[in-house]
């Protein structure tokens, strides 16, 4: 079953076409990689999917329902994300960050909270349990009560994932989940993404670590200068000359010095 269907998504900033006519389909429980040189429009494409940017044209549906406009409603529908530059709530503890992720799945209002009503208490207890479980799931159970800003970089990335999972997504968008990680942390990230997939959550990830992408993804799409160059299995993508050219530059026809584009 299709989770995400993006059809001809285009985003223009003035004269710049950041994303040009990109379509992408993601099925239930699938892991899809989105690769491409810097500036290819990968993050802008994510922004269009999550409502941070409104696409100039094109259509995005999630489980058949069109997604439009407001980020909070898109999240409620079931699309969650993490960021390339980590965006945790720095002055909250790890567990509080994850509980904020529960916001869309809880509903006790102001009055109920002031009166400490039974629904408020039940929801608070549930949120705390969910948050504790998720922290354990991403391997951060031991730093539950540390402030987010005091966590090491790799832990912050995992905390962002735990917070995104707390929103009970059907689709999780990861923007460079291994950026700045050492090989051990990257290996842990591979198994974490597999565990997330095991929960039946589809994942789309932007990544520059090719071993990570090709080892993990069911399908890979390549974005170059805002356009989708091709899409296929890791093996197909890896062996495609156009991909290599996009990353490294084409050898010129005449015998000049090779120009590296990356």
């Amino acid at each position: 079953m299709t989770v995400l269907e993006a059809t001809s998504v285009t985003k223009r900033f003035g004269g710049l076409v950041a994303v040009n006519d990109v379509s992408l389909t993601v099925s239930e429980g699938e892991v899809v990689g989105l690769i491409g040189p810097n500036g290819a429009g990968k993050t802008t494409f994510f922004n269009c999917l999550t409502g941070m940017e409104t696409p100039t044209s094109g259509r995005v549906t999630f489980r058949g329902t069109p997604l439009r406009g407001r980020p909070d409603l898109i999240l409620k529908a079931g699309v969650a994300r993490t960021f390339q530059n980590i965006r945790l709530f720095p002055n909250m503890t790890a567990v509080e960050n994850v509980i904020v992720g529960r916001h869309a799945r809880t509903s006790a209002g102001v009055l109920s909270a002031i009166g400490r009503g039974p629904r408020y208490r039940r929801e608070e207890r549930e949120s705390e349990e969910v948050a504790r479980d998720l922290l354990a799931f991403v391997g951060l159970g031991h730093v539950r009560n540390e402030l987010a800003k005091s966590l090491p970089y790799g832990d912050q990335r995992r905390l962002e994932i735990a917070r995104a999972l707390a929103t009970e997504p059907g689709l999780l968008l990861l923007d460079e989940p291994t950026a700045g990680m050492n090989p051990n942390e990257t290996a842990a990230a591979v198994s974490l993404v597999k565990k997330i997939q095991g929960r039946g959550i589809a994942v789309v990830l932007i990544e520059h670590d090719m071993r990570f992408v090709f080892g993990l993804c069911d399908r890979v799409a390549v974005l170059v200068q805002g356009e989708k160059l091709l899409e296929g299995t890791p093996a197909e993508v890896q062996s495609d000359e156009r991909v290599i050219a996009a990353y490294l530059g084409k050898p010129p026809e005449d015998a000049g010095p090779k120009e590296k584009k990356k």
Binding site: T50, M52, R70, P71, D72, L75, K76, A80, R81, F83, R87, L88, F89, P90, N91, M92, E96, I99, V100, G101, R102, H103, A104, R105, T106, A108, G109, V110, A113, I114, Y120, E123, E124, S127, R163, T167
Partner: protein, 307 residues
């Protein structure tokens, strides 16, 4: 010594009014970085809302406790309505505009509300306010130090308001959403938080506390005046800055501190500079000193930081 203690009590009472109003400044600032200079008028509207409830809506002979509760609700209704309308039509369209624009708008809203109430009650101002809690009912605090009943109510209201608010912000779902919005509004939206609603909530909570203060102010002094929000507003703003704007405990602490300094200076400052006429001047001297030596205020964090 008895005089000193008595003045300390008086300072705490004055500070409680400042603190309650300061909470509204500090909360809104913490979340949208807007200094809502019309918040003093929300305090004034709370007083007038309570007065209107008493004179127009309540049948004579309503039991005092019931009357007070209904007046509080009436005052809150007026304050909250005004705050919500002001947020929706004056501030929200300017979100993301340079900071000066909403600031000037706030000054405009402030004058608008003052004139609105003045025209609504054209006859005579200040208006007399019913003395439902007898001000000559003195409670002895020991050593000859006394506090009258309406003042005691004000102090209790300020402390309860602060404790309730900071508990709410620290540990409720909406409170956490407020902290999240204060720390990073874009990410908060991506966590499914309707930030517009959270901002309205901050205005509503601030207005409710200001209404409590408006009512208790009327009970203390026996009058309400369309202009009473102007000076109280500036003082409460001072209190919020003193405590560290954006910081909930700081607002109340700043309020008490400012109240105590004003009262003490009135009593103990060297002769030509003492007396009630100088109280405001001394209050602002404290503000200037804090801004010079501790620009982030005494407690210095934002709501964001740690409620």
């Amino acid at each position: 010594m008895q005089l000193f203690m008595q003045q300390l009590v008086n300072g705490v009472v004055l500070g409680a009014t400042y603190g309650l109003v300061a909470l509204g400044y500090t909360m809104v600032y913490g979340i949208v970085q807007l200094i809502n200079f019309a918040h003093g008028e929300i305090f004034m509207l709370g007083g007038f809302g309570a007065l209107f409830t008493y004179t127009v809506l309540l049948p004579s002979g309503t039991p005092v406790v019931l009357a007070l509760i209904l007046m509080l609700l009436g005052g809150m209704a007026v304050s909250v309505t005004a705050a919500v309308i002001m947020e929706r039509f004056a501030y929200r369209p300017l979100r993301g505009a340079p900071r000066l624009a909403p600031l000037i708008t706030a000054l405009g809203v402030s004058i608008f509300l003052q004139e609105l109430v003045r025209n609504f009650y054209p006859a005579k101002s200040p208006r007399p306010f019913p003395q439902l809690i007898p001000p000559d009912y003195l409670i002895n605090l020991g050593g000859g130090v006394t506090i009258n009943a309406p003042k005691l109510v004000t102090v209790i209201a300020a402390v309860v308001g602060m404790v309730a608010l900071s508990t709410f912000v620290r540990s409720s779902r909406t409170g956490r959403a407020m902290q999240a919005t204060a720390q990073d509004p874009d990410t908060a939206r991506l966590m499914g938080i309707d930030t517009d609603r959270i901002i309205v909530t901050a205005f509503v909570l601030g207005a409710s506390l200001a209404a409590v203060s408006g009512l208790s102010n009327g009970l203390q002094f026996g009058t309400v005046d369309p202009r009473m929000g102007a000076l109280t507003g500036v003082k409460a703003f001072t209190a919020a800055v003193l405590g560290g704007i954006g910081n909930i405990s700081g607002a109340v602490l700043g309020g008490f501190l400012l109240g105590i300094v004003e009262v003490m200076a009135t009593q103990y400052a060297p002769s030509p500079l003492s007396g009630g006429a100088w109280a405001n001047a001394w209050g602002f001297v404290v503000l200037i000193l804090v801004l010079v030596f501790r620009p982030n205020g005494l407690l210095g964090e934002r709501v964001a930081a740690r409620a």
